[in-house]
């Protein structure tokens, strides 16, 4: 968002000296081929696809690949700059549930308003009211203001309204990430029901498991383009392969960095409890990440370094930042920090790491999917008991009295 003053001064500068602003902060790190001019780029470009009636399509892609933009265009929220979308039938988008809920109004009043926002008439809501309330499981509280609802109840009610829209084409974005397991099951069931009745569904998720469960085909987007459009399994495989190769490239040579570049991450290595270099780790073991930095320019800025960890499905798990533990980074021509995890509490699998260095709150060097590690099965509790696959993603130390 620009302010009037910024716009005016930019306009004045252009008029005055005809200079182009070459380094635009907001578009740094975007490939040249996607750029329109110095400050704009194509979020989506050269997209061409057809979805036949009744198909359930999964839409996947890394962050920033254009998924949300595509959904916004398909659901008419924003207009394409160029090209067109032809849609046969009525579209309803479930980009977020409970949109437009008013906290002061009762559940019942909100169901009506929300239904109307999503395109239902009052009569349609009337007909389905009982069903909606039953589905959400909030019949006892339907005359209570929404602000007294638990967040789970609000979400359930929101999804219930949306699920009873009865559109020809349903666009769903990550709703399944909310609610408890039972409700998620219910949602998946509802979506399968909708798809069986011959409706078309476009489903966006970072959760490959749920994409695999309900989609017959999938589209993989990368940098504003379709890379694959085919069977779900092969598209997911392609997507996961796409994400990983960047990591195998050594960090030194990465060019897709974002930030001022005053200090850059020069290398990363991993050590086990004996201080030996390793490329894998085990659940429950000591694990440490050493990050080497190189100063390109001397600064006096306050430095913070973060490692964020995502699982192989792209879901962010956690972030380790130096300021969480009040560690102060001091700049030298080359320097290194070591982040130690005493007892790795991640389930076996592949994990992707982003490195992020900031100075005075501004990104200096940010690499998405900087590297990957594989966590092998290990004995977290020291009892030989392990958390089996599918029983969770993380382990928590605990005791029983």
């Amino acid at each position: 968002m620009s302010s009037l003053r910024e716009d005016l001064s930019r306009w004045w500068r252009r008029k005055d000296t005809c200079e182009l602003v070459v380094n635009n902060e907001s578009t740094a790190g975007i490939e040249k081929s996607r750029m329109i001019n110095d400050s704009e780029f194509w979020a989506l470009h050269n997209l061409n696809f057809q979805i036949p009636k009744g198909e359930v399509i999964g839409l996947i892609g890394a962050n920033g690949s254009g998924k949300s933009t595509l959904l916004k265009i398909l659901s008419r929220i924003t207009e394409p700059t160029d090209g067109e979308v032809k849609i046969r039938g009525k579209v309803a988008s479930l980009l977020e549930v409970g949109t437009g809920f008013h906290p002061e109004l009762t559940g019942k009043e909100n169901v009506y308003v929300n239904g109307a926002i999503l395109g239902m008439t009052r009569r349609e809501v009337n007909e389905k009211f009982e069903e909606i309330v039953d589905f959400a499981g909030v019949s006892d509280f339907i005359d209570t203001p929404i602000k007294r609802y638990s967040s789970g109840m609000t979400v359930r009610l929101g999804f219930a309204v949306a699920a009873h829209l009865n559109p020809d084409i349903l666009i769903v974005d990550e709703v399944l990430a909310v609610g408890d397991a039972e409700f998620q099951k219910k949602c998946l069931g509802k979506m399968e029901g909708i798809s069986r009745s011959g409706k078309t569904i476009i489903f966006v998720s970072h959760n490959m498991a749920s994409i695999e469960a309900i989609c017959s085909k999938a589209i993989c987007l990368s940098k504003g383009n379709i890379t694959t459009f085919g069977s779900t399994t092969s598209t997911i495989k392609k997507y996961l392969d796409d994400v990983t190769p960047q990591c195998s490239q050594s960090i030194k040579n990465r060019s897709d960095r974002v930030g001022t570049g005053e200090i850059i991450v020069d290398g990363v290595s991993f050590q086990d409890y004996e201080g030996m270099d390793t490329s894998t780790s085990r659940t429950g073991s000591f694990f440490s990440v050493s990050v080497d930095f190189k100063s390109v320019k001397n600064t006096n800025k306050r430095l913070v370094f973060c490692l964020s960890i995502a699982n192989s499905q792209g879901q962010r798990i956690t972030q380790l930042c130096t300021h969480f533990v009040e560690y102060k980074i001091t700049q030298k021509p080359t320097f290194a920090i070591q982040m130690n995890i005493k007892k790795l509490n991640l389930q076996p699998g592949k994990y992707l790491f982003n490195t992020y260095l900031e100075g005075d709150g501004e990104p200096m060097d940010w690499i998405i999917n900087a590297f990957e590690i594989t966590v092998e099965t290990g004995d977290f509790y020291g009892t030989g008991q392990i958390l089996r696959e599918g029983q969770g993603n993380t382990l928590i130390p605990f005791s029983v009295n």
């Binding site: 849609i87 109307a116 203001p145």
Partner: protein, 286 residues
């Protein structure tokens, strides 16, 4: 939404220039319009003790403050009208204008969360605001009639006041106010969507306009040579006519009223045009 619409092909593509107004879309979403008006009404005074009485109490308190400050202390003449009736009549028509104007100035920013998630004709929100403000205005007008009768029949007063034929103009006058407020509100919402600076300007503009409008003073108090400038404010002749219709004082000038009407239409149409242009891409920079 209905059977007619099924299997209809909708095409979204970049629209250029004057794309026309989506009246069909608004008609399809008429239930939403109704529900939003109802929601505004219900939500405004939930968890209050006096509830909808505030619709009436608020202008009444303001009228009393005006009567004290401008009538008693500053001694601004009220054209020989009971001060309460004089200020109240000006205030209720003004507050209708003001809620159409300031209430819609933040349409895009206030509804950003919804606009980023769902499509419906965005004009529904400002329309709903104007309609629910009309309910407030009607309630206030009803109470004004109450005060009117109170003064007419129960409180002996030397001042003479009466309704005039111009009451017949009210069905035109009130839409004029709504159009003007809506039009200016749409303009402001478009500007605020792009530049938050206009958030500040809206409040200031509304206040400045209020002092430029003969609410706390009669237009006749303005010296002859400046009156032309006073009439440039489209609300000036509106308030004067409103007062003339209800109380028989003030002035009625057809040319000035027609000027206000034309100006209101121009502002409304241009506002709708820019609103429409903005709604297409606005989520990208909200």
């Amino acid at each position: 939404m209905n059977n007619l619409q099924q299997n209809k092909i909708t095409i979204f593509k970049p629209s250029a220039g004057w794309t026309g107004f989506d009246f069909v879309g608004i008609w399809q979403y008429r239930d939403l319009l109704y529900l939003l008006v109802r929601r505004d009404f219900l939500a405004q005074y939930k968890q209050t003790i006096l509830g909808p009485a505030w619709f009436v109490l608020q202008p009444l308190f303001l009228t009393i403050v005006f009567t004290l400050i401008f009538g008693k202390f500053a001694q601004i003449p009220t054209e020989g009208l009971p001060p309460l009736l004089f200020y109240n009549s000006g205030l209720i028509i003004w507050s209708y204008f003001s809620s159409c104007f300031t209430g819609n100035a933040s349409t895009f920013t206030a509804n950003a969360a919804i606009y980023q998630k769902v499509y419906y004709p965005r004009l529904i929100n400002p329309l709903a605001n104007c309609i629910s403000a009309l309910f407030g205005f009607s309630l206030q007008a009803l109470f004004f009639l109450g005060y009117f009768c109170l003064y007419k029949f129960f409180i002996p007063t030397e001042e003479f006041f009466t309704m005039t034929w111009a009451v017949l103009l009210l069905p035109l006058l009130i839409p004029l106010v709504a159009f003007l407020g809506l039009g200016m509100g749409l303009w402001m919402s478009v500007l605020t969507a792009k530049y938050r600076d206009f958030n500040q300007i809206t409040g200031f503009l509304a206040q400045a306009l209020m002092y430029a409008t003969p609410i706390i003073y009669p237009l006749s108090e303005i010296p002859e040579q400046y009156r032309f400038w006073a009439y440039l404010n489209p609300m000036a002749s509106v308030v004067e006519t409103f007062r003339f219709a209800l109380l028989g004082k003030g002035s009625f000038s057809a040319p000035h009223l027609i000027y206000s009407g034309i100006l209101a239409l121009c502002i409304l149409l241009s506002g709708m045009y820019f609103f429409k242009r903005t709604e297409k891409r606005v989520v990208d920079y909200l």
